[in-house]
Each structure stands twice: as C-alpha cells, then as structure tokens.
Symmetry: C2
Subunit: 558 residues, 2 copies
C-alpha cells in the first residue's frame, strides 16, 4: 500500500477578482508543502460561474496570466487549479496541474451542462484532448470536472479503465436542499464500482443567485466517505489516501510524470464534518448567500422593512446572523392599517436580535398622495391602486435610507408570494437581494421555528409565528382572503413550478380544479413581476431565476 497526501482547499473565490483569488490560493499553498497534491475547485482562479465575462478575450488573457502567477508559487506539492483555458477554437473550463513553478498539464471539461441554471455551452467549448493520467506522488491520478463525473461511459470510466488509481473531480456544484446526500450517493457508487477512491472538491460561498455549499469529500474504493469538509465554510482538509500497490498495472493511457512518492509521517485522517440536517443546511445557505452578496458587492450594512410579519422577521434574523446585528437596520413603516401588535412584535424582534431600528410612519405621505390625487384628478384613490401605493411609499423610503447611508436593501418576499404575484412591484419587491425568494411560506414558518429552537432565548416572537398572515394594506386584510391556505397552496405551486405539470395534469393529480385554475392563472400572470424582482439565492431544484425562463408574452393556459 502507498499513501497519497491530499489537501482539499475548499475556497470561496470572488468572480472576476483575479488578484484576490490568487492571494487566496497563495495563502493555502503555504500550508500544503508537505502534501503530494492540493486541489482547488472548479474555476477557482476566476470564481464561478463567469457567464459572459468569458466572451471578453481580455479577461481570458488576464486569467491565463494569473494562472502563471499561481504556477510560479507552486513548489513540491502539486497544485490542481480550475481556470479558463483557451485556444483558437474556444474557451475551456479546465484544471491546470502545476508544480515547481510550472504548468505541467491540464484537463479540459468535456461535458458541459446547459440545463437548469447552467449555460456552459454558451460560454465554453467542449474539451477533446486525449485523456492523460498524472503520476503524482507516484500514484496515477485522473482529473475530471463536475458534469464529467456523472456521464456514463464518460471520462471517469476511461480514466479508470486506463489505469487511474485515484479520480479527482473539481466542482462548482451549487446547493439545493438535500444536494449533499445526492452527491455522495452517486460518488460512492462510482468509487465502489470503479474500485478507485474519488476526491470530490467543491467551491464554497455565494455568487449572485447561487450558493456553493462546499461539503467536499473523499470516498475510498469501497464507496465509503473517509473525509468531508464542512458545509458552507472555507476549509483546508488534508487526508492520506491509501492506494493499493497491486492495482492499476495495465495503463492504456499515457502518463505525465509529475512527482515521485514522498514519505509521509503518520497517517492523517482528520475528523469528518457531518452532513447537515435539512433546516440547518437551508438556513446556512441563506445566511451564506446573503453575507456574500452584501460583502462581495462592496457593502457592509443592510436595511429592510420590518412589518411585524413572519417573512420580514425571518429575513431580519438571517441578516443579523449573516452580517452581525450592528450591520442591520430594521425600518418600521406603519400605515393607518397597521395593527398595534405588528409594531410591538417588530420592536420585540429588534430587541431580541440587538439590531438597529427606525420607525417612520407613512400616513402623512400617504395622505399627501391621496390629496394630490383628488386635487389633480378629481377622484379618490382606492382599491388595489391605494394598496400598492402604500407598499410603494415604503419601497421609496427604504431606497432613500439605502441611498443616504450606503446600505443595501434586502427584500422579504417568499416563494409562494413571488409565485402568485402577491407582491407590489417597486414596493415590497424593491431592493438588492431577495433573501427568501426561493422559500415557500410553509418553509418560512419551519425555519423560523427551527431558528428559535437553536437559541436559548426566543428570537422570533411566538406572536409573529402564530398570527394569521396579512399584508395590512386595508382594514382586517388576511392572506387567506385572496389565497388558499399555504399548506394547500405550496404543494400545488411546487408541482406546477418545479414539476412542470399542466392544469389538467394537476387536476388529475387530485388538486381541486377551481383552485388549480385560479393559481395557475396567478402564477402565469405574475411572470412580468418576477422578471423585475431582485436576485436572491436559489435553494430548490427550480428557483425563479436562470432556472425557469418563461416568455412574458405567453398565452399558454398552463
């Protein structure tokens, strides 16, 4: 048996920040000199996904320069770094193998995902290099990138059949609920079937609507996870992988000789970070994505409208957990229709979290609009026009606070609302980041309760969780006057949105036909609102972002 000492550098690069990412990689290189190989995630040099930045030849050239800098830092430990390679035929999602100051090899991703949130066929060409193995620490290692891993009769099979003793897969695999289990089931099966250990290296951190959850791991040749990096945190995990000397003797693939065996002291088997439970991973996903969006766009502080309802209460709590209570200002903007308990509940939450707050009643401004409306148009403001107006006055105020203080505005709408359009464009949807836009209302309650359970003291007041949801835009308004109860609505929405079912199929599935008719119409009619909604983190298999691209002009009745 031989030992390969493998460092998994699970990093959080910033898209486009070549200098910063090089420094981040450098800080890890300093700690891995005693290893055989240190692996960084997919496009770790540039951040991921880069989208149309890759159409700019100057950017690709700069990334190649940055790669040379990284290679120049490499010493005895071989580095595997994700970057954008290029030639006359295109740009390639690639991994570079670097050692002793040089780039000694590369692998170009062959299978480009062009589904869900991915547009890789748009931005990359497919690699067609002949496959190599790299002899690192005397062990034959085959590299693949993300999607390559999942393809039957793809590069993994060829590398294994060609003599690979370890497969290293670098990934930029975004989170959705339960994703870590999905990954491990698949990789464990591949490792076991191939009888070869697999190292799965992921990125971590938020990028626009995606959050990478890390959770990098190594599965041994029996299909058992022997190392796992934490979810949602940067980490450097160094493990020894045992390689059977008697295997991999027939090599049908050519081998690039990179580094000889090293003698390693001891046997590094660091503690295995746990796979997180559902609500914890979901909550951490929201916290991580929010923090990274705010900080990576160069902001520090945020504000949000705090109504006393459950959605804004949860978002305030996430914001406080993300950025620290000192960086969060809750703005309470009661109108003539706001209930007393709403303001009281909101104030209790502010106190529990230790965040700042502003109270700014909107009644006077609302009256000013109403008076001017009568004066100029000789009519009364009423109905939905008047309801939307209140929401929009709040949006205008939040943006003014943001402008005046250099804050970002977080919006507080949930996925159920976004789905049926139960929101006011430029009102409650006004802001930079929509923290819970991919969380259905029933899940909002679940997360609020879960967050309270993690704390000794109550954080989100029970009265906020228990009261019937209301937009409070007219007297005695309640959500259930306009919508079915959320425990009926949410599964229906999930089936229509994530499941791509039609109206007729939903009725066949057992949903009430009147409700189906009404809800499908609402979802379809609200596409124009969603198109102008702020970005927010995707945590399901189909979020309202790059995941679901529907025409605005669309007369299909669902």
């Amino acid at each position: 048996m031989r030992t390969v000492r493998l460092a998994i550098a699970q990093i959080n690069p910033v898209v486009g920040d070549l200098e910063g990412n090089v420094e981040l990689i450098r800080s890890h290189i300093e700690k891995v000199e005693h290893c055989d190989l240190a692996v960084f995630g997919e496009m770790s040099l540039t951040g991921y996904p880069l989208e149309d930045l890759l159409l700019k030849p100057g950017f690709v050239a700069d990334n190649l320069e940055a790669l040379k800098t990284v290679a120049s830092m490499s010493g005895n430990c071989v580095l595997a770094i994700g970057y954008a390679d290029s030639d006359d035929d295109g740009v390639y999602n690639s991994v570079a193998i670097c050692q002793k100051g040089e780039i000694v090899g590369r692998y170009r991703k062959q299978n480009l995902p062009n589904v869900e949130v991915f547009d890789e066929v748009r931005n990359f060409s497919s690699g067609s290099d002949e496959l190599n193995l790299f002899s690192i620490g005397g062990t034959k290692i085959g590299f693949v990138i993300c999607e390559d891993l999942w393809v039957v009769n793809g590069p993994v099979d060829k590398l294994v059949n060609g003599g690979a003793e370890i497969i290293v897969a670098i990934n930029g695999s975004p989170f959705h609920q339960g994703k870590q289990q999905e990954r491990e089931v698949l990789v464990n099966e591949i490792a076991q079937k191939s009888n070869v250990p697999v190292a799965y290296v992921n990125l971590v951190g938020g990028q626009d609507e995606l959050v990478f959850d890390g959770g990098s791991f190594i599965t041994n040749s029996q299909g058992v996870v022997i190392s796992r990096s934490p979810s949602f945190y940067e980490s450097l995990v160094i493990s020894d992988i045992l390689v059977d000397d008697t295997k991999g003797t027939q090599n049908s693939l050519s081998i690039v000789d990179v580094s000889p065996p090293k003698s390693h002291e001891g046997n590094l088997q660091p503690p295995i970070s746990p796979v997180l439970a559902n609500n914890e991973e979901l909550y951490l996903a929201l916290v991580t994505a929010t923090r990274d969006y705010v900080l990576k766009t160069g902001f520090q502080k945020i504000c949000l409208g705090l109504s006393g309802g459950i959605d804004s209460a949860l978002v305030a709590t996430i914001a406080s957990d993300s950025l620290g209570p000192d960086n969060v200002t809750a703005v309470m903007m009661p109108s003539r229709y706001s209930s007393d308990h709403s303001l009281k509940d909101a104030q209790q939450l502010v106190e529990n979290l230790g965040i700042s707050s502003i109270v700014f009643p909107i009644s006077e401004i609302h009256s000013s609009f109403s008076e001017q409306w009568i004066l100029n148009l000789d009519k009364e403001l009423s109905g939905v026009t008047d309801e939307n107006l209140q929401s929009r006055i709040r949006g205008v105020l939040l943006m003014a606070f943001a402008n005046a203080n250099n804050w970002l505005v977080l919006t507080t709408g949930n996925k159920s609302e976004a789905a049926v359009g139960y929101s006011t464009l430029y009102g409650d949807t006004a802001g930079a980041y929509a923290v819970i836009k991919d969380i259905y209302k029933t899940k909002v309650y679940e997360l609020a309760r879960w967050r309270n359970e993690t704390s000794e003291n109550e954080i989100i007041p029970t009265s906020i969780i228990d009261k019937p949801p209301s937009a409070e835009l007219r007297p005695d308004q309640r959500d259930d006057q306009s919508l079915p109860p959320y425990d009926v609505l949410d599964p229906l929405l999930e089936s229509y949105i994530e499941g791509d079912r039609t109206r007729i199929e939903l009725v066949e599935d057992g949903y009430d036909s009147e409700i189906v008719e009404e809800i499908v119409k609402l979802v379809d009619r609200s596409e124009y609102k969603r198109r102008q909604n702020p970005p927010g983190v995707r945590v399901t298999k189909k979020g309202f972002g790059r995941d679901r691209r529907l025409p605005l002009v669309n007369r299909y009745k669902g």
Copy 2:
C-alpha cells in the same frame, strides 16, 4: 423548365397561443389552394422562442395535437409548418410537411444556436434524422431550419448534393440593424454557389425583447432576389419559381413523394418589397415591438412620463404610432426643478400627436417626504437621495395611473443611460416595457429628426431636439456635468458593450484613459440596475437582455 408555385406565409403567431395560431394558419390555408407549397416560419404553430415552455411535456403534447388539426386542414397545397416535435430522447425544433389531411414528413433542426439571445441547446435536442428530399409539385425540395442554413458542410450542402432543386429555409430570425442585408448577402451566395433557388421564410412581430422583421425572400439559382415580403408586416406572397428540368437528376437522398406537378396559369412574379433604409427599419422595429408587447399581453392603452426631454418625446411618438393616439396618455409631473419650457414643450408634443395628457405636479408630495424625513430622522433630505426620490415619486404615480386605469407603463430610458446607470431604479425605470433601451442617445436624436422628416408638420418640437439634455432633478442640472458628450460616450460604450473590449484595449484604441476608466466603472457598477429593468426590444447585435449575461458580483475591472 418547370414552375413551382410557392406561397410564403409571413405570419405573426403568439407564443403559447396554440388555438389562435391554428386559426391564423387556417386563414392563410384558405388562400393557397392553387399553390404547390405554402411555407410558414420557424415554430409558427407555437410562436417563438418558447424558452422553458418546452420543458413542460403537457405543452409539447398540446402542440402535437394542434399540428394534427393543421394537417387536417391541408388540401392539395402542401403545407410546411414549424412546430415542436418530440420523442423519448427530447424535443426538436421541426418542420412538418402536411398534405390532404395528413402529416407526410418532417425535418428536425440539426444546428441549434446557443449564442447571443438563443438558448436552443437548453430547450431542444439536435435532429439526427437521415436527410430526405420531398417531391412537391414534381420538384425535389430540401427543408432546413434557420441556423442549419449557415453551417458549412451542413444540411444544405448535403441536400443540394443529394439532388435538391429548391431549398426552403424556415426561420425565426430576429431583427437587428442591417440584418436584412446580412441575410440576403449570405443566402444569395448560397443559392449561387449551389445553383439552386432558396426560399427564406421568416416570422414577423414582437416577442418580449425580440422583434422578427419578416422580410422573407426568394433568391434564384443565380443568386438574385426575385421575391421579397415586406419588413415588419404580415403578408402572404405567392411567386412562381422556375426549376431547370435538366438538373438534379442524380439523387443520392431518398425522396418522399408528396404531390405531382400542377399546371399553373400565368407566371406569378409579385412586386418585390424594398429593403428599408436604416432609420425607417429601426423605427418600425420599435413600433412593432411596442405594439405587440402591449397587445399580446392583453392591454390596449399605455401611459408614460413626458418630461419635455428628447427620450420621452420619442417614446411618446413611437407609442402613438404603435397604438394610435387615443391609446396613449402622457403624464407630466413637474417638480420644483422642472423648467417652464419643459412643460411647454411636452404640451406642444401632446398637441402635435393628439394624445391624452395629465398634469400632476409632484412638489407637494416631494415636500411631504422632506418634512417627514426631518420629523422622523432629524435630518434634511439632500443630494442623490433627494434626486432619486423625485424620480421615484414619478414612478409611483405612473404605476398608480396604470393600476387605476389598466394601462401599461412604458419607460423612456435610452441605452446610453442604461449603460452608465444614469437612471433611478424604481423611478424612471419603473414600467412594463422599455421602448428605447437598446437605442443610444445619439441615435435617439437621429430617430427624432427622421420621424419629423417623414411628416408634413413638425411632430417632435425642435426645441426638444435642440436643448441640452437634463434630468432636471436639481437646479441647472445638465447631463454633460456627469457624463462626457454623447458623441464621445456612445462609440466608447458600443466598443465596450458590443465589442467586449477591456479598459486597456479601449485606451489602445485611442480613447482618453480617464474617460475610459470612469465609464467602464459606471457600466460595471450599474449591472444590478439593468438586472431589474423592464424588458425592451433589442435592435443591436448586443442588447441588455438575454444577450449579455454578466454576473452581479463581479470584481473584474473591465
């Protein structure tokens, strides 16, 4: 020589409206019974592009049902209809050949564009059927779809080498400036090189950010255009194509025998519609896209903020030309900083166009915000916060008018502004459709002058065209206080945006380095605003829509 009588049905289908599109096709079928073949554009049955509607199996099934209905209407004239075919391996962008009530053949698009605004790899599988020729009216015809036409050694070469006597290409080819010339140069070359006539059939009409300009045409085997449908209008053009009896005798491709030769009376050579000049085609593109967005989303009337500046003046004129003056309401919302001449100029335009108008001063509402700001925060409203506030009050009012009257709001920002972020999110960007979002400011002036020239009486008052541009959000504000002159700015923007140049390259190109530094920073920083801007028609080779997908978190310095 033989004659084939070909009908080009250049139609404007509505995405998803299967019933409506079937009726539209039926209305044309009634007029082509004396022809050999009637051709409709790409995905003419369903509208195009369908985007993720194609991920809904129920929709694809409904489209196949609709195709059967169309086939059942077919008689002696063979129909070629674009639709979505499907099998267990995927969904295909296809053309169906129908005759005497039956579907007698099909062709599936082989080359799927996945660049610019197109995501066809996401939504379609690539066709791999063996190529056929269809003998229609005794003439061997090869069918291809859009991108297939442009591929070297692609299906066109194979069809021609296999004995095709005519190539029919169905297209969903969106407009950009000068596109018709580009198409004809390419098609004429193909026809001449292949020595085979080519019929190029396009869609017409607006769909979200795209506008299809029609301009369908037939090029003879000498590479000369012998028939052309009008740009931007639905039409049915029937022409006779002469086919050389002595050619196409070796057939290496199998032939589906569809219909025998017909004897045709006369020789139909209808007048050839002209290719439009630059400003005319551009203006018609804006008119068509605006009309179709409003009408196809089920609205009839629009409103817009009319400031007295050139942008809103042009948009009001386009709106009036699109929908008729009775369906347009201009809202004038002067503030304490608005100049008298602005209101006067706006009123003159209203009169010239014969549209409706509302005057709604915002000073009182503005004061109410200011007073409440002092009262609640003990501070004065000032600077950019106060400038944005005025713009947002106008946005709120426009949305209130829209809500109260069931109007759509058109926004009036141009591409130069959108590029540098010289706009207020939820203020002047609030609305449903951004008519001139892809028109640089210098072009706005050009179009305004052109529109005036087409009319006997002045439409857009010269004083609007001649005065220095200003947002009028503070005393004596002028655009050139914040931005370089537009004739410097616009070419720089075009080079940075459409040309994907970097900062360094732009300086090498001869631009002033300080200006480059400033403008690139502004463009990059405004990505978050553009992400929440309303849709608007794309008329350049790279609009701010599906065309240019940049990350929001992006630290690349350009």
